[in-house]
Symmetry: C2
Amino acid sequence: MDKFELIKRNVQEIIGEEDLKKFLKENKKLTVYWGTAPTGKPHVGYFLPMLKIADLLNAGFKVKILLADLHASLDNTPWDILDKRYKYYSEVIPLMVKSIGADIKNLEFVRGRDFQLKSDYFFDLLKLSTLVSVRASTKAASEVIKNIEGEKAKLSGLIYPLMQVLDEEYLKVDCQLGGTDQRKIMVLAREFLPKIGYKQRIEILNPLIPGLIGKKMSASDEKSKVDLLDSEKEIQNKIKNAEMIAGNPDNGVMAFLKYVIMTIKKDKKEKFIVKRPEKFGGDLEYKNYEDIEKDFINKKLHPLDLKNAVAKEIFNLLKEIQKKKSKLQKIAKEAYQ
Amino acid sequence: MDKFELIKRNVQEIIGEEDLKKFLKENKKLTVYWGTAPTGKPHVGYFLPMLKIADLLNAGFKVKILLADLHASLDNTPWDILDKRYKYYSEVIPLMVKSIGADIKNLEFVRGRDFQLKSDYFFDLLKLSTLVSVRASTKAASEVIKNIEGEKAKLSGLIYPLMQVLDEEYLKVDCQLGGTDQRKIMVLAREFLPKIGYKQRIEILNPLIPGLIGKKMSASDEKSKVDLLDSEKEIQNKIKNAEMIAGNPDNGVMAFLKYVIMTIKKDKKEKFIVKRPEKFGGDLEYKNYEDIEKDFINKKLHPLDLKNAVAKEIFNLLKEIQKKKSKLQKIAKEAYQ
């Protein structure tokens, strides 16, 4: 796979794609950041950006993972538990990277407050605030911040996107990676960074994986996602109870299978195996997601068999993390009372 | 006059008056700040806070004058001329203080950006922003910021009041002095400072003097106010053209006479003299504003005679400043193109 293909696989959209192609042609050493605010508990959906980070590392990028602690507070995380949530994220995110076996030589972790509280940053924030309208900031934050409109909407929700805009500059990156829910903030960054004298960045947008029960995977709805510390039994139960209609591949389990499990399998040149008793046709083996989907649509693959196989793969994926389960549970208990 | 009377004379309102009385009783050394954002050109209306500052110095206060440069930019002053406006303010404000002959031993000037860009300040701003609603901040700024509502309202206008709230803490003062247009921001400060662990301040509110042509004195409307650098002729013309209905003391000229000129006269134990030809009854002499107002209401004092006398007093008041007229004009030309 060539570098551009590798960067683009499983990606929903790249804003500034022509610039990216140009830089790749010039063999420019590129730097990208992915930010995560330590709000809700990270779940298996986080493996999607992890895999993209691995792709970017393999494509020769320098990658910065921003643990955006201040952003978490701007998005309704109480200040007095912020440090505990940061602690949890700073433990589990590196373990997720390790789980997927990425080469972390060019990976760096950065804590938001370590550079965002500097004078220059604040000065630029004030500058930006004189250019960005309340309306534009509200719109940019609308898919990211809880309670962004209405009587109780806090000012912090409007400062949030402006800080994310500045992070592109202050982290000295060429690109930002984020889910499609970040799109409006990324577009804001491309519009306003040049107005305060900085360059436009390339924006790499990952698709959002639907949750297990139909909605977006949500940290606040336990049943909608598999937690990183769930036991094998809990994983089996959650997947068993996930929404899945025979013949319809539009569900969270299959999205996870496609974007995460089968991406890993393909890279490792491993097969995805669906165990079945001989009387139901015996085990099935798949090299790629497309074949699974075809069988599923044609009802050659039963939801329950598929679910069992996926649950098993998820548990395997979490093995590295779960080695530290008791330590992580202790931290999580304080961070998420 | 006792200290409390001195502090309260000409003042519209004191929020936290009981605390002030208590502190005075305890002989506590008090510190107060008055902030001015270098936006429009300072005009003679600025003598009102200057006189109150003199009162506070005489009452034993330490006084800080904040030249709030960042605030000016948050309120629509372009960043590229901000430094020039700051320069002008930093020249004329001290001259105004000098003009009224205050003892400046306990007076200090502070520039906004010298303390507002520090990490702790920004961190507290972020904290505040998670508590203050967009609505509350909009309301607080409504009498201070131009274009605070509507499609083009900038985010800066909502950050402005929060920074003013923090200034009370970071300037380490016990009180803030400001015009009644600042009231909503002061009330916001009293509500929210305790929520981030800081004490409530006493708020001293000056009345706003109406402009010469009926509205609030406005830096953007030349005819509404007397500029500090206006010539004697210009002053005479502006006052001559000011709105004033015989018998009705509700106008900008008489407000200025009351709050500024007669306050100074009284302190200096000087009389206010209205020159009149012998055939119209000869010169009039007044020891206090109340007598002037009485004569005016009873039409014993003609608007034109009064205006001439006021114009003369204003010019006298500006003498100290106008000694540096050519230097100031040069700075003003760059700051207000």
